[in-house]
Symmetry: C2
Subunit: 494 residues, 2 copies
């Protein structure tokens, strides 16, 4: 077991450097004064070089060969597989391609921050083209190494085991009912009267409310904290999870729902198996499963009618107000309002999948070489019109230039969002069969629900494939029917 142990030790070393990177990255976003930026990025770049050297060290190939011949327990073999996958992912690309991608990505992303505001598609296009070219090269190399198609080889980075064949089938199904559902919900909600919030909401009170909500959802404050950053995220390490939010005095719901979302991510991290700490097999299974945990908290729980009854008194107490707009029923109306819009990150639960499917279809064809960068705005406009009934013609800012993902070449990530929503619905359907969720939520006793997630999801880390994980937890692999049923029930039957 000598070489297995060496690899184990090596991975832990890398993970510990990742720990320092995570904390300094969190600090950069949440604590660091502006003047510290330059030296900080130099310091973090130095760490990245050291980590990269370690991750791509020559001797590792031999170590893996030796370790695979060793007498290992089944558990060790699973860990070794995860180690090998991580190593291959980090060694598959030639150094000069990685460097070109980093440069092209930085340049595209940096310019995008200005170009987006100026609706400058021509300028952006010029930077995006090399990024796409390099991503296609990356996809080819990964495809060759894995036997997957080019797009699937990128998808595999974020969703190991997922393929566009499966996504095509699932998303086709969603497309068969989603546009109609959106119209029905809009018609139904047209007669609803939603009371506007009486602003402002003091930041300190919102902060106290956020902490209350985190407590309710079982966030472990011995192993994490909440702070403020411009772009909310869940960072840190499993033993010390750092989530952030940003407060808007005119609307407490965005920060509150954001915190609840990040708390879902955080509980997954906090619940990962301790015996595999600092090893790939102990990490979160995939981006989609990660998102399923945040959306479980935000969508399945927090935006439900029953949960509004838990939140309403907390909110009234936090703001010391009994205004009618803060009633459970009005909160439910606010939290389930559906309206097709241009912006993905502002989208509601029902229209969100349309944004994702649109992006998936474009990036898939882009990587497979079926369309070119020049084609994007027209296709974007067509699909927006088809799925959501709104046109983005000439509006690049709120159209194909709205997301950061493509600017640095992160193709293959978008499907995770909707996969997460679907997994979350499927998990909740199973939990509903095993316990009286309505009763528990009504009592404010979420423990049994989270215990189910702890046992079936968090504790598994990456020891199972996503399909196996979901099958063992719910009795079947991903089935989008649960998501459909969830939306139908919440948005049409209520």
């Amino acid at each position: 077991m000598c070489y297995y142990n060496k690899l184990d030790r090596h991975a832990k070393k890398l993970s510990r450097l990742g720990h320092l990177n995570a904390i300094c990255g969190w600090d950069q976003a949440a604590m660091m004064p502006n003047g510290g930026a330059q030296a900080r990025s130099e310091a973090m770049a130095e760490l990245a070089v050291i980590s990269h050297e370690l991750a791509t060290a020559d001797y590792l190939e031999d170590w893996f060969k030796q370790a695979e011949a060793e007498d290992l327990t089944p558990e060790q073999r699973v860990s070794l597989d995860a180690l090998k996958r991580q190593w291959m992912m980090q060694n598959i690309l030639p150094a000069d391609l990685v460097e070109q991608q980093s440069l092209a990505g930085s340049q595209c992303e940096h310019a995008w921050r200005t170009q987006r505001k100026q609706n400058d598609w021509e300028g952006f296009k010029a930077n995006l083209k090399p990024v796409v070219e390099l991503a296609r090269k990356e996809a080819s190399i990964r495809a060759q190494a894995t036997g997957l198609s080019r797009y699937d080889a990128l998808l595999d980075i974020y969703e190991p085991g997922m393929t566009s064949a499966v996504l095509d089938r699932i998303f086709a199904e969603v497309k068969s009912w989603l546009p109609q559902l959106i119209q029905q919900v809009e018609a139904k909600q047209a007669t609803e009267i939603v009371l506007p919030l009486s602003t402002p909401f003091v930041i300190e009170q919102q902060q106290a409310l956020s902490l209350e909500a985190m407590k309710l959802l079982g966030f472990d404050f011995e192993h994490g904290r909440l702070d403020i950053s411009t772009h909310p995220f869940c960072g840190g390490v499993p033993t010390d999870v750092r989530i952030t939010t940003r407060y808007d005095e005119s609307d407490f719901t965005s920060a509150l729902m954001g915190v609840i979302h990040e708390t879902g991510h955080a509980r997954y991290e906090q619940g990962l198996p301790q015996q595999w700490r600092d090893l790939p097999v102990g990490e979160a299974r995939s981006m989609g499963i990660h998102e399923s945990q945040s959306l479980f908290c935000e969508m399945q729980l927090a935006r439900s009618s029953l949960f509004s009854h838990l939140l309403s008194p907390m909110i009234q107490k936090a703001f010391n107000s009994t205004d009618a707009s803060l009633s459970a029923e009005n909160l439910r109306l606010i939290n389930t309002r559906v309206k097709p819009g241009f912006i993905r990150v502002d989208a509601d639960e029902v229209t969100y999948p349309a944004h994702v499917i649109l992006r998936y279809e474009i990036e898939r064809d882009l990587i497979e070489g079926k369309i070119e960068v020049d084609d994007i705005p027209t296709i974007w406009d067509q699909k927006m019109t088809q799925y959501l009934g709104i046109s983005t013609q000439g509006n690049f800012t709120d159209g194909c230039m709205q997301d950061i993902h493509w600017t640095d070449g992160s193709f293959g990530y978008f499907p995770s969002y909707t996969l997460g929503a679907m997994y979350a619905a499927q998990f909740m359907a199973t939990i509903n069969q095993q316990m009286d969720v309505e009763l528990l939520v009504g009592q404010g006793n979420l423990t049994p629900i989270f215990e189910w997630l702890q046992t079936h999801i968090w504790n598994k880390g990456s020891t199972l494939s996503t399909d196996k994980l979901v099958e063992q937890a719910t009795g079947e692999t991903l089935n989008p029917e649960y998501f459909k049923q969830h939306l139908m029930k919440r948005y049409l039957n209520n």
Copy 2:
């Protein structure tokens, strides 16, 4: 210049890893929840290993040989000297000694935390003996390499260029007038009426006051911040200085004076020469010079009569109170109260040197082998009685077990505190000759005073020896007469 550049690059790499260590160390003390401790220390230990490997790499000896033969500018030669000193300091000790010291130090310090509370000298002694033995070994090795005496070789770590011959002379002089001065001040202050503070002081208000004081003292908030930790310190990096304090609701002065003290350290760091960033030659000159900057702010400025007139309205505003205890005159009385006591960290400006001289004399003789660990309590008691007129017989908790320094083998550090006080007095005497300090402080215009420090101290980094630095700034090397004059004037003439 190839090898000089290599060494320059190598040092910057080490410094950048030090940056990550500093931020994660700050986070550990100021932000991290308890549950993150284990993984954090593992991660930081990993970084320490990597840094140590880099700092002691085999190839460096050759690089230095090659670099010294290269055609360098005078400035580069100064930087190279500083690089070489740093390299030698990090490579002089055999790895097994460093490891033994680390183990013995950790064990002694860990047990001390309990033993001190229990007044358990016998238990502590058993752990301190190996620490002293190892420190003597370290001192011998350093003495052989530097040609210094054994104690001086340890002193040289913190105060390059300082020797016990100089300290003996200076401290003998201080001892010739200090005990009598203390008695005179006590007699004078016996008739003073100091109004007690009317507590409590709300933490948030103390925090706001701290930030106000930092602003007054020119702390650059673009390159630093203030937070809370159990043990206040000045950490971070020059471009992002992190100072901490802790608040006591029953007494705002401890946090306020603490913050002012740390602001002095911080301004030095923030003012270090940018062209030498990440290089040893760009670092603070010595511990004594560092302390001179904190004591300049705290002792020379903040505890002065005139400064009380600046602070008083700020304090009254912060706590929204015009209580007579917050008058400028009463604050001055509080801030200059002298009373011999057992505890160094609680000591006032006048009695503090006695605590330092006592420790210096003991650790000097301990390292030189003139006394043994068993002798410490008796000598401690004798010297406390002689210098401060109070006995610590049988009281180890408040006697020779009060400090953390010796537990992990940091012999040679204590003199820096009083050297700092002396340098601060000498700097202020010079500044007084060059500008009307009373007028400036009276106007609350501290800029010209800090500009002097920026030009003569901060901006020099480690480009000059301490003697040269002080001589160029003040016209002479360390002269304790200024400190004496300062104490006489403040504590007897007022």
